[in-house]
Assembly symmetry: C2
Homo-oligomer: 326 residues x 2
C-alpha cells in the first residue's frame, strides 16, 4: 500500500516549486497525493488561511510536502507544526560544488526546537503603552529535543553537538534549556558544547566549519538557519523537516517570494531536498540518496536558476533532476 | 574644566585594551579618569560584581569607558546601561582597507533598543517543568528609539533606516515596536523599511551593502551586531556606544576573551574606536575624527594583532595609533 502525502503548494512560488518537486518524487516513488490549500489565496477567498480540510489532510497523511505561504504564514505553518507534534525542525545547510557561497566549506545541521520559546503565542497588550510576550521553555520539550539530538548525532556518526542559547540573559528559561539538554547528553555519553547565540553568529559568519550540529531554541534556530542559508548561497538551497512524531512536514526554509512569483524561475532545490528528507522519513533511503545525488549533479553541472547565476526555469531544473534519476 | 571619565577595565583582556586606549585618549584630550572595578575578579574578592562605588562613579561621570567582563557580564553591563538610562546601543560595523573580511564592502550601523525586550529580566520557574520569561515592549521605548533613529539618519545625511523584527510571530510586541517606529518616521518624513530578522540574517550574510542603518529590538541587535562583526573581520573591530541621555557608556562589542587574556596580544581597535565614539559624545569632533583616521591608517599599514593575521602586541598597535596622532 502506498503512503499518503498531503501536498500544500501555498502561495507564490509554492505553486512552482511544489509541482516541480512532485515530478521528481514520482520518478522514485509511488505515493498517493492529497492536494490541499493553505495561505493567503485561500484566506482571501474563504477567510481561513488554514481550512479544516487541510488540517485533516495533514494529520491523516503519512507526511506533508509544504511549499510556502505569504502574509498568513504564521497562521498556517505554526498550527501545522503543532498539529503533527513535530517537536524538532531539522535544517541542514551545506555548500555544493558549482554554487557560489560566502563560506564555501559550510556543512552543518540546525536542530531547532519547534514548539515553544517565543513561538508559544502568549502575548498581551497590557496598557496603551505596555505589551508583553511570554517566552515558554519547558524541561520536557528541552529533554525530548536533547534526546533527538543525541540519536541524530549517533546516526550521523558524529561525536556531539553544540547548544546555542543566551543563558546569561535568559537565565531561568535558557538555563533550563541548556541544563536539561546537557544532562540528557551526559546520560548518553554524547559530547556537548555550548555557545551564546550572538557569539555563534560571529563564529558562523567567520568559520562555519567549527560547527556540525547546532541545537537551539525556536527563534535562535529561525535566525541561525537563515544566516546559514546566507553563507551557503541563499535560501533557495535550504530544506527542512518538521519531525519528532509519526508524521512529518517537509518544507523549504524560504518564503513564497512574491517578487519572482509567476515567472517560473524559482529555484526548486530547497523543495526537492525537502522531499528527499521526506523520503528519508518514510524509509526510502536509497531513493532519498538518489534524489540528493541528482540534485548535486544538477547544481554542479547545471541548469541553474537565476538566484544561482543561471538562466534556467524551475521546470528545466526539475527536468534535469528527473533525467539524472532515470 | 576637564570632563570626568569613569574607567572600568573589567576582566581578562579588558586590562589590556583599556589602558592601551587611555594612552590614545591622552594624546588628544585631557580628561580626568576615575578608575573603578567591575566583573568576575572583584566579585570573587568581594562577592559583588558591580560595587556601589563603581555604579556611583558611572552615574557621576560625564562618560564611561568600559572594557569587558566575564561570567558576571550580565550583572555588570545591564545594570550600568540602565543606570545611565542609555536607551540605545549604537553599533557601527564596517570593513577597513588592509583587513580581511568575509564581506569586504560592509558599512552599516545597528541601533539596538537597550532597555527592554527579553532583557527586561522578568523570569519565573513556574513548576519543575515550566519556566517563562516576559518579553516587554513598550510604545514609549519604541518611540524614543524611533526618534533617535530619525535624528541619527538626518545627522548622517542618510534617507532612512530599516527596522528588523519578527512581527509575524511576536505580533503584539514586535507589532507595537514596528508600528510605533514607523509612525515616528512617517511624522518626520524619514523613509523606513522593515524586514524580518531571519531574512535580514540571510541578507546581511549575502550582501550587507543592502543596509545602512538597522533599528531593532534588544536581542535582535545583540545577534545581528555579532553577525556583522563576523562579516567585517571579527569582534576585535566593533565599538559600541550606550547613549540616549546625558551620560554614555562606551564599550567594545567583544568579551573578555579568557583564551588570550594575559598574553598582551588582544586587538585594542574596538576599544579605541569606542573611545572615538566617547569623544563624539563629548563634542570632541576633531579629536574623534583624528583617532579614527589614525586607527584606519594603522589597520591599513600595520602593525596588526594576531586576530587580524599580524604578530603585534596590543601595546604596539596602540603606540602606532598614538604616533600617528602626534
Ligand atoms: C513564517 C514563519 C512563521 C516561519 C518561522 O518563523 O518559523 C519561517 O520564518 C520559518 O523559518 O519557517
Ligand atoms: C554580556 C551580555 C549581557 C551582552 C548583551 O547581551 O547585551 C553582550 O553580549 C553585548 O552584546 O553587549
Amino acid at each position: 500500500m502506498s503512503e499518503t502525502i498531503a501536498v500544500i503548494p501555498g502561495d507564490g512560488i509554492g505553486h512552482e516549486v511544489v509541482p516541480a518537486t512532485l515530478r521528481v518524487l514520482d520518478t522514485v516513488a509511488d505515493f498517493e497525493y492529497v492536494h490541499v490549500e493553505a495561505g493567503d489565496a485561500v484566506a482571501e477567498r474563504t477567510g481561513e488561511p488554514l481550512p479544516e480540510e487541510t488540517l485533516a489532510a495533514v494529520t491523516d497523511a503519512d507526511a506533508t510536502l509544504f511549499g510556502a505561504t505569504g502574509e498568513t504564514s504564521a497562521d498556517v505553518i505554526l498550527p501545522l507544526r503543532d498539529a503533527v507534534d513535530s517537536f524538532v525542525n531539522i535544517r541542514p545547510a551545506r555548500t555544493y560544488p558549482g554554487v557560489d557561497a560566502v563560506q564555501p566549506e559550510t556543512d552543518l545541521v540546525i536542530l531547532r526546537e519547534n514548539t515553544e520559546g517565543v513561538y508559544a503565542g502568549i502575548e498581551d497588550r497590557l496598557t496603551e503603552d505596555v505589551s508583553t510576550l511570554t517566552r515558554l521553555v519547558t524541561g520536557s520539550a528541552s529533554r525530548r529535543l536533547g534526546e533527538f539530538a543525541c540519536e541524530y548525532v549517533a546516526e550521523q556518526g558524529l561525536d556531539g553537538f553544540t547548544v546555542a542559547h543566551k543563558n546569561n540573559v535568559m537565565r531561568v528559561t535558557d538555563g533550563l534549556f541548556v541544563d536539561t539538554i546537557r544532562a540528557v547528553a551526559d546520560e548518553r555519553g554524547v559530547a556537548v558544547d555550548d555557545a551564546y547565540m550572538d557569539a555563534m553568529a560571529t563564529g558562523l559568519a567567520m568559520d562555519p566549519t567549527d560547527y556540525d550540529v547546532i541545537v537551539c531554541p525556536n527563534l535562535a534556530g529561525d535566525v541561525l538557519s537563515d544566516l546559514a542559508a546566507g553563507l551557503v548561497g541563499g535560501l533557495g538551497l535550504l530544506p527542512s523537516a518538521n519531525v519528532g512524531s509519526e508524521r512529518g512536514i517537509f518544507e523549504p526554509v524560504h518564503g513564497c517570494a512574491p517578487d519572482i512569483a509567476g515567472e517560473g524561475v524559482a529555484n526548486p532545490t530547497a523543495t526537492i531536498l525537502s522531499a528527499a528528507m521526506l523520503l528519508d522519513f518514510l524509509d526510502y533511503d536509497d531513493e532519498a540518496a538518489a534524489v540528493r545525488t541528482a540534485v548535486e549533479t544538477t547544481l554542479a553541472e547545471g541548469p541553474r536558476t537565476p538566484d544561482l547565476g543561471g538562466e534556467a526555469t524551475t521546470d528545466a531544473v526539475a527536468d534535469a533532476v528527473v533525467d539524472r534519476l532515470s
